[in-house]
Symmetry: C2
Subunit: 354 residues, 2 copies
Amino acid sequence: DRSYKIAVIPGDGIGKEVMPEGVRALEAAASRFGFSLDLQWHDFANCDYYAKHGQMMPDDWKARIGDVDAIFFGAVGWPDTVPDHISLWQSILQFRREYDQYVNLRPVRLMPGVPCPLAGRGPGDIDFWVVRENTEGEYSSIGGHMFPGTEREIVIQETVMTRHGVDRVLRFAFDLARTRDRRHVTSATKSNGIAITMPFWDGRVEAIGTEYPDVTHDKYHIDILTAQFVLNPQRFDVVVASNLFGDILSDLGPACAGTIGVAPSANINPDGTSPSLFEPVHGSAPDIAGKGIANPVGQIWSAAMMLEHFGEDAAAAGIMAAIEAVLATPEGRTPDLKGSADTVTCGKAISEAI
Amino acid sequence: DRSYKIAVIPGDGIGKEVMPEGVRALEAAASRFGFSLDLQWHDFANCDYYAKHGQMMPDDWKARIGDVDAIFFGAVGWPDTVPDHISLWQSILQFRREYDQYVNLRPVRLMPGVPCPLAGRGPGDIDFWVVRENTEGEYSSIGGHMFPGTEREIVIQETVMTRHGVDRVLRFAFDLARTRDRRHVTSATKSNGIAITMPFWDGRVEAIGTEYPDVTHDKYHIDILTAQFVLNPQRFDVVVASNLFGDILSDLGPACAGTIGVAPSANINPDGTSPSLFEPVHGSAPDIAGKGIANPVGQIWSAAMMLEHFGEDAAAAGIMAAIEAVLATPEGRTPDLKGSADTVTCGKAISEAI
Ligand SMILES: CC(C)[C@H](C(=O)O)[C@@H](O)C(=O)O
Ligand SMILES: CC(C)[C@H](C(=O)O)[C@@H](O)C(=O)O
């Protein structure tokens, strides 16, 4: 029936500033492309909520979010009042795990009008995907702390990888590569140094790779892979990585393509057993929060990814075309991209262009 | 008495090609600056040795290396015959741990003549140090593999951080910052996601920081830190990081400064209880091995770091000046730097300039 129920969670800091622009773009797309929206705003998963309740979310958060088609998320974290590992583990990291959003999909694309920090690169030169494992790996909750406060103090944290968890994200990456011209998967590893989990990861890449004879694949150790992002970004098509390595590569990639301010991400449950979540790559940015100058493009591009996830391909393409048009002029861009627009001006320009 | 006993271990691939140039530079510096060398070449810690003996080094490797002032190391690894995690854990990673070389010190410096991949940056704009913890952390040997070969397969690897291990590398970083104009330490963390070990790391940075009121410090999560290396490399002075994060940053940093081909590293035991080890950052590079075109500057710069470690500051500066002079001309540079020299030509030019 082309009606979508969406939980809207702005979060903290610039999350609260860019979310209205994301929603403005969604509404513009709905009226232009003829679908309807049921937006349910939630005032939890933010540090003000924590200040009042001593936790980031109500105990019944899952019931409150209920049976939505997707979650549209801003950014969380306000380290002056709540330590990041608490605010994040009790919000976004919990969503990813509880909703089994095991793929974190992030485009790396140099957009027209975005100044590129790499010499001699233009739009078209950088265009690939980072597929990040999003529920296990280095982001584990197992480990502990011994002899705290003494000279003998020791902390241990376990990286956990399962065949179930690794194979499914690898298959997603290989499937994605099949939709692309180059049909190439690059695996991020560190099996020369991280000698238990990463050789296992490499073995699974080999095993899954044989299921995809039409897709080529190679691997780089994460250290030299980050170097290659800077030196040869044109080399990549689909990059698949563990939770931590994917986290790093999906900030570094957008930086090589100019800024993380425009980068979106999709936390996907490909099985559809629970909602997927769409959020910008950037965080709550306490340093610029409240100034009204945050770049809303990451949030708006995330809206486009959400619509694509719903199958609203024309609407997603419409938002992308609007983003490109507005980014092409200095009056449309925010100050981080050497433009003169504030958050609302940029957001409105994109919505009008839709 | 200004006489230095050095174990020389070329290793595999281009390690065998660049090591003679490193030694040539050492010998040139010795005769020019009036000290003497006792070089002891070792033919273990390479994959040919493994092919013959089923292990990378003889059981009595420590006795064979004996009481040297330092180890001069090339590069190890030949994945076609020995898996990297075996060749590296039985060689360089073992040296670092057994000799308690707990600091891995790596300069990131844009050299004249080296093409920079970042737009608008020139020599002087990028000049900082990465101080990497080198014995514990994510490079652990604890963990295991359960249900191998089945659908239920699971692997676990433990990251281990101790107050002893973290504090000593932090102090090294803060001490190093004291020798610099800007006196600033940046800590690489990921305490928002890696919620046990990294908050501990952050706490130790705060604690050690109070011992250095004359040094400022800040922290970045590793994801955004890699982005900042690309976007704002001029921001950094001394960057201190765990074993894995330091590994990543010390490849990414040199890439931002043009190439990892010229980057050196010092694996230091600051207590002097066992020898330190000096090696280029690059690996054995099977793709270009045997062609005679490998860049020898990383190996030669490592020689300079070794001489500085001995207190031969004038000789170290002499090598650096020679490197800069030779890199400034296309005839001196190897093909990776758009030059026309082969490995030996470049190495000889540097030695003559010394
Ligand atoms: C070869 C590998 C094990 C090593 C490491 O990860 O430490 C290398 O990348 C380095 O940086 O010295
Ligand atoms: C905020 C943080 C926990 C999160 C992560 O590390 O996953 C963020 O960096 C991201 O990439 O979504």
